[in-house]
Symmetry: C2
Subunit: 593 residues, 2 copies
């Protein structure tokens, strides 16, 4: 390679990790305008959300704002999605509260320091996963498990916010403990807080359902109406803050946000205490994976609409950089949010620069608007959270999985019940483990079909489902699973049982559905061949796939096999016996599906 | 059902759980003679083994004898194998030492009580697995992992016995800690002990290798020669005991077995302390599964030689009953032993009654022979253990797996290294988990082959391996794996990448190797279909299996699919475009294996 080629290769590698160098070089005025418009709209939506989610995470309100500044800039540099809006989100905020709440901490400043460290660990995990291309790990979260987890989290979050609506104190990481705590303090309900909170909830629901039709009937364009409807929370914040200030509601027991520091985000550093890292690591891993899955689903959906592609492993780098940025600027764990990304996309964002412009908007809010937030009732923020998360609650997945597959249903039901009963971390971990266990269980008892020739074709199908031709001395079994340690013995037992009825000369195992034969299964096949040989029966294979055959050829299996390996099942049948309509009869057979 | 039918059904169910009722009713004199001969030979072999393995487990010698009496009777009643000889075995004894050694116990009597409780928990686990037919769980131990575990355990056991050969003190559950401890005490070596120990080892190795040929050359029949060679340990025990007594070796620092209580096994009860159960449960589960796997492998191998079948779930009941019996009669965890079962089989055992007769032999030993064991040097017992377990050590599995499949190799290497480095429990657990993780990893990145028609057939194969016919507007991809949550995204990415080169009108997914489509994968296919439709490409499926199709028909997937579902790939090709020799060219394609 010449020096120029090396330089070019280095530049390409660098661009892979820093996508801004690619799209930034071609940035034009049209894109600038689109991105600016989107940024303004997202900023308006993000200010109350940032404050509210910080409250949900049990952190000071300003940490929500800080988490919406530098992390967005980091994502704009390292991310690949053109529409993803990064920042604090509901589920990750709840998980942060659970993770930090598990620690035995002295006070609010230790709590904030732990959240900063959590963001840092989470960022490092995401970066490592990105650099080592471990994004596939997120695939072990099945869709139903995610759907169940999000639904249960939504319920948990909404319940956790009821205390702010009622103006009482309540704690707990599970539905039962939360409800118990709420009921225990119900007599302390502050009526004025309840009026503010319930009023905000009602207003925000009306904004969601009723404002858009109203605006449309007033002649606004559908996109504008949609975006204005999304600004509802800002309206609620403004009105209730004014009421709180005008009537001095704080003196009547209404909890308000209070002093929010004014200025740019502070420079912070995570703790490097080994014990703290050990306690937080598991939670950080869950937050990273859940955050990544949530983020990439939105990013892929939006990218597909414009025929763009996102790079999952680079997304890990982008989100990792965002979380490290959050840790360095007084924030807490962030990820790509569903609702705000859709708003960003609908508002016309064309490049990740929209995120950077949003960051400038939030920075301005942190510098100039925070004094105005002093009188903002916490109940209003709780109301915005409740309305936002209840849209996540969707039990449809239970019905869909029940109809489609009981194993999927079991996994999603367990995820929902365990999340509600024992909190987010146990719930989602159990969902993942259960999905895997159920999958392995299914593959450990595979479907085995006895097949025959479909007349007039060279195609073989199940004798119990199709009218097919067979031969009395030949039985062909299609093994519908990879042959591996977990099912080797099952397959051996099945075959020995099947051949015990006598009258057979040849057994052919049709391997069109066998994508792997591991050493355990190979030893089982060798043993089976010996046993069949003793009974005067040959064992052959057909339709063995290339990669599987490659491995078999490294052993003496084929050499020692009593029968042959046939390219096609048709060739096997032609070689071993002409087709016949009769079937070997054997009691107890014939009803295998 | 009539009353008679009900009675008959009850009797059949009862016989299922108590096989002795079945074979016992047909027991004859010929069988009695064969069983008695086998029992005498196994008894002679089992006496030194029982004492030695109790020593290995860190228990008083008599517990080895007790574990070889009632448990054998219980297995004779409930077991299905006609040759399996149950009792204390090397690996389970080592696991017992590890499990009980982990506890912080006050003294030998607490240690013995914990071993009794361990046997009881293990028995209950096996019984529960048997009744609920959970025997398949043992299948998750792959052959290579078991082979690696047994080899590493053999090395650990042999090393742990060196202290008795040297007459020094040493402790540790890993190879490193054992060797360190041995080296630290090496200067305390007792030379006379070393002579007895090393002499016994040399003698026993000679018995294994040299005695049988000698006996054969003296004119003995091969079976008799084989059985006499197995009695070598009894000879070593007799000779060294006489030496120890005659020269009063104990006064010269040679450790002897000392007083072994004389009489029938005591009636014991397990502890029902909840904390103890909690600490022992994980170990008991591992012991149960490992013991079951070891036992069933021998039982199946021996049964196959006589064309008998054993019932795995009933074997769990048999072994469970044995362990409960061990707990009730002063024993410790037992299972079917490899060497003694082979001896039992070769000696002509015809029914499980041989085990019951062996139990009578060991009972006689416990009642009358124990005073003779007073002067038996512990070094002799250690020598019998070392010679027995070194035959388990076989690194061949590393070479076999290296040649066959790197994933199998990785699992077996990790099992060996972790067992040696961190002990049996961590070693075998890691092996199981790693096998599963590697299997899931493989299925998460499946092989996908682009296929074409093999000329002159209706058969389709990989375009990169076979000369096949294709059509420029049609691409057929054979998905070589179940479509499920762990690979749904990978398959989506692969397909979108593959179709991005243009010129296509139809994509056919050939599902002959797809044994399952879960809900995550179904949603991915629906999304893919939408994206292909936008690009003017139809998506069809072919060769979908019956069970998979049944599930798809419960949804609207097929109804909404842009293409069709074809019974055969040949039918799909006939419908979508006549065969052609040309391939769509697309950069970056064509080298997929």
């Amino acid at each position: 390679m010449s020096r120029d080629q090396i330089t070019a290769a280095r530049a390409a590698a660098f661009k892979r990790y820093v996508p801004v160098l690619d799209w930034g070089a071609r940035y034009d005025n049209g894109q600038l305008t689109s991105d600016l418009v989107a940024a303004v709209i997202v900023t308006i939506m993000l200010i109350p959300q940032s404050l509210a989610y910080a409250l949900l995470a049990g952190l000071p309100a300003e940490m929500g704002l800080y988490a919406s500044i530098l992390p967005l800039v980091a994502y704009a540099i390292f991310g690949t999605s053109r529409a993803l809006a990064v920042g604090p989100v509901a589920v990750v905020s709840l998980m942060t509260a659970a993770a930090v709440g598990n620690l035995d901490l002295a006070g609010p400043s230790e709590y904030a320091a732990a959240a900063i460290t959590l963001a840092f660990i989470s960022g490092v995990i995401l970066l490592v996963m990105g650099v080592f291309r471990l994004g596939f790990l997120a695939n072990f979260l099945s869709h139903p498990v995610i759907a169940g987890f999000i639904t249960a989290s939504g319920l948990l979050i909404a319940t956790s916010q009821l205390k702010h609506i009622l103006g009482i104190d309540a704690h707990g990481h599970s539905l039962v403990s939360l409800l118990g705590s709420l009921l225990g303090h119900l007599n302390q309900t502050n009526l004025i807080t309840l009026v503010i909170g319930a009023g905000s909830v009602a207003f925000l629901f009306w904004v969601r359902k009723g404002l858009k039709p109203l605006l449309l009937s007033l002649g606004l364009g559908p996109r504008m109406a949609d975006i204005l409807a999304k600004a509802g929370p800002v309206g609620a914040v403004a009105v209730t803050t004014l009421l709180s200030w005008g009537f001095d509601l704080h003196s009547m027991g209404v909890a308000i946000v209070g002093e929010v520091p004014q200025g740019v985000p502070p420079l912070t550093l995570p703790s490097f205490d080994a014990d703290l890292w050990t306690s937080l690591f598991g939670s950080a891993l869950l937050i990273s994976v859940i955050g990544f899955v949530e983020s990439i689903s939105v990013a892929q959906t939006l990218a597909a609409k414009k025929r763009q592609r996102i790079v999952p492993d680079q997304e890990l780098v982008g989100l990792g950089a965002s979380n490290v940025a959050a840790a360095l600027s007084g924030g807490y764990p962030v990820t790509g949010g569903f609702a705000r990304s859709v708003v960003n996309f609908d508002a016309g964002a064309e490049t990740p620069a929209a995120g950077a412009f949003t960051a400038i908007g939030i920075l301005a809010a942190a510098m100039f608007l925070t004094p105005l937030l002093f009188f903002l009732p916490k109940a209003t923020l709780a109301a915005t959270i409740i309305v936002a998360v209840l849209s996540l609650v969707d039990f449809h997945i239970l019905k869909a999985t029940w109809r489609y597959h009981r194993a999927d249903f079991t996994a999603v039901l367990a995820t929902i019940l365990l999340t509600l009963g024992f909190g987010v971390e146990i719930g989602v971990s159990a969902g993942v483990v259960l999905s895997i266990v159920l999958y392995l269980y299914k593959t450990s008892r595979p479907h085995i079909a006895e097949v025959g020739l479909v007349p007039g074709t060279q195609h073989f199908r199940n004798i119990n489902r199709h009218k097919v031709l067979t031969h009395p001395e030949l039985v062909t079994l299609r093994l519908d699973e990879n042959l591996y340690f977990a099912n080797a013995r099952y397959i051996e037992d099945y075959l020995l049982e099947r051949i015990s009825c006598g009258g057979l000369k040849h057994v052919v195992l049709m391997c069109s559905a066998v994508n792997e034969i591991d050493l355990s299964a190979l030893e089982t096949l060798e043993e089976l061949d010996r046993q069949l040989m003793d009974a005067g029966i040959t064992l052959s294979l057909s339709e063995v796939k290339g990669p599987v055959m490659d491995r078999l050829m490294r052993t003496t299996f084929v050499e020692h096999l009593s029968g042959d390996v046939y390219l096609t099942q048709f060739a096997a049948m032609q070689a071993l016996g002409p087709v016949d309509g009769a079937l070997p009869t054997c009691e107890g057979q014939g009803d295998a599906a």
